[in-house]
Amino acid sequence: MLAWTIYITFFGVLVLMLLPRDQQRAARIVALLTAIAGCVVAFVGAIQQANPGEVATIVKAPWIPSIGANYYLAADGISLVLVVLTGLAAVSGILFSWNIEKRTKEFFAFYLALIGGVYGVFLSFDVLLLFVFYELTIIPKYFLIARWGSTRKEYGAMKLALYSFVGSHLVLIGLIAAWVVAKGQLGHASLDLLELSKVAFPIAFQHWVFPLVFVGFAILAGMWPFHTWAPTGHVAAPTAGSMLLAGVVMKLGAYGCLRVAMVMFPEGVRMWQGEIACLAVAGIVYGAGVALVQRDFKFVIGYSSVSHMGFVLLGLATLNTIGLDGAVLQMFSHGIIAGLLFGVVGRMVYDRTHTRDFNDLETMQLGKLLPFAGVTFVIAGIASMGLPGFSGFVAEFQVLMGAWTVFPKLTILSGLGILIGVAYTLRAIQKGFYSDAPPKPVDHAHPLNPISIPERFGAVMLIGASLVVGLFPGLLMNWIEPCFNSPLSMFARLLVKGGSQ
């Protein structure tokens, strides 16, 4: 059933491509219906899965027998969480880009192609298939930003595309090497993740191949110091593009780290655990610190993404159940909250005021002019700071708990990151919406358009999702926890020694 998320989405791309050029309304509706259908399928499929701790096969058919590649789609609890996130992000992204007038159908075609690739990555249990979907997302990203973006869009788009491509090529080197070694051990060629997760790669081999694959994926997760694509890319992207970049694309990287790099090379993770944690915390603190001094509203959110993704990487580095639980939950949580923040800044504010400079925004009294945007941003900000009641709290708290047992000093440092997070969020709320700077005379010839219905829907949906998960974390934890707890799962090898440290 879940495989239909991929098929429906790509079918939507096809329909959009066949639409006549001037049918903007039709294009929007097709895109929205496709995204909703994908989201519904994701939800229903996720709920139907009886035992999230096990890998439930959806399709498994021989694809390229000579190299052992299968068309193997499956899902466990972690896939379920991320597929549901993708569904939510896809729908809200379309609601927030209802105002795209320029080449509407192409915009949504690229948009849905990106979403389809993302669904594919989260559901692939064949490494080659996963890699195919992973690279498939690069091209739509590039064109979405380069064509429909704003500030330095071509630079931002090219940077993002090259970073992604370089990262995926690091992964490719590692995968080819691992494929050859695994072939020697298994006696047959295999690209099946479940099978590869049982191969004992030589320690010396894991020592160099793990960082290659991990960093390759982590580039897309915004790991410091390879994060520099993230702020420029997020800022250059159109609103829906930033929402997807922060919401799901960065998760692709983190997911790849967990599902491919860590599962295949558990000894490698143990060797590099400390280094990863250091880089993660560096990202948390650095991202937060830089966000604190930005003048561009979108850069604040862009750097905050780097900071929040640092928690995901820190959670992964803990190698204990609670830390990993937190990392996966943080992927979901950040996907929702960052999407919402970018939606407010990009669509509600920038598309109306045509500026994101705090110096200009301070004089506009946006809190009064756009009360809905103001309130939404405050709620999103609170969620982003990690206040209890929202998903961010549950996620980051677990990450820190997990990290405390392994890296106490680094955990304290990352607590500093959270404090700075509070500071830059409050600063953004204050400067962006509720400044007491003397107002500039309002230009009544160009009053700001009121917040439209699709925007309200999108905002409410995302806030709702964050609240529900914050108040009832069990909903998602019931999917995530069994994956790491079961001694039979593909992650078991990862946790054997790491959990007791």
Binding site: A146, M158, L162
Partner: protein, 488 residues
Amino acid sequence: MNTVNYLEILRLAAPETIVTVTVLIVLGADVTVMRGKSIAARFNVGALLSILGCIFAALLAFTRHTEANLFNGLMVVDPSSDFVKVAILALTVFTILISTSARFTDHVGEYLSLILLGTIGLMFLVSTEDLLMVFIALEFASLALYILTAFNKHNEKSAEAALKYFLFGGMSAAFLLFGFSLLYGISGSTNLREIAVGIAGKGFDPLLLVALVTTIIGFGFKVAAVPFHLWAPDAYEGAPTPSAAFIGSGSKVASFYVLAKIFTLGFVGAEGSAVWHGYLSGWTPVFAIVAALSMVLGNLTAIVQSSVKRLLAYSAIAHAGYMLLGVLSNTPASASAMMFYVITYALTTIGAFGVVMVVEEATGGDAIKNFAGLSRRAPGLSLCLLIFLLSLGGIPPLAGFIGKFFLFSAAVSAGANLGLLWLVILAIAMSAVSFYYYLRVLKAAYVEDAPGEAPAIKVPLLTFLALVLLALLVILFGCVPGLLTQFL
């Protein structure tokens, strides 16, 4: 060989014979029936006849399952070489299809028959295990290619390109012949398998070394590998676009097939080793150096090109480097991976040149800026371009990606202890570089707007048909590579 059975020769060389007859028919029809008709009509009828002949020959080669060895390896027919012939014929068909809209010449019959003659040379080239025949067939094909390059008489660049190509080609032929003669001197035979026996156990004497190096130089020119690549950018740029497409496709496939054959059959025991920390002199380390240079120089130089044809030429040099990786890995898996890569590369290249040709005729140039706004002016065409260039760049699920995966995984498997990984890492790093310049062209097509008034580009029907077919093949072989690998 006592008596020569000519009927037997004709039977075994039936595909080649059919194409030869087709040449005569095309030429004859053009000077008799089609005389005085419009160029378009002459092109369409000539193309139809040529394509029918090619398809007929290809069907014959595809359906027969003959294994034969005539005159001690002078003519070898087996399913593998027959499949390569089918591939060459298919590439010829596509070349002819895209050339139907070309308007640079009124010598229609001659143009088409030269393409076919080149094809015949290439077909003979792949079905021999004898150096003499290799040389004759190679020169036969090359002569056709030189003339095809010079065919645009209104363009000085075309003549310059052809002269350059001819001079370089002639020199490479001399090198090749020199190498072959030394091999004959060492082993007493021109048959590849007998050469292998002849040089076995003699150690690595200087004479063999010279023979080896001159042979590599000769083929290095033919496949445009660094440092023997200098003719390629000028030839690609100056030649009429369909000719360039033919040089970059059919002739590549045949050259690489025979190159792999010569070295894997003829130089058994002189392989040496190119693995990291395990260097042994022989032909594989030489290939490794040539491959590495081609990948690095080709990709880095392509970045700064403004003409798309030159860009494709440098990318062809880079791709030759990847293909050499398949040759030097020297295992059955790497050989079939290399053929998969060459064939899909050739299909993609014809497609890319086809798009360039249409754009060139509509906008008067092949610079990257001429592609600006293509996605508005010709959406179908630019979608084809997107597919071809992304495949060349190695983006899944297109044929170029899966070809690279086959090639690189076969190469890593070949050396003991991942010994060839250093070359594969270089290749993958360089392929990441290549993504940048392909994206530059696509950026012009999809992101930039055409300057000023830009009417829709009318794409000639036959050319468009060929391009769509090629794009579909690139996708199909990428998604279901088994369709092609089962024959290799």
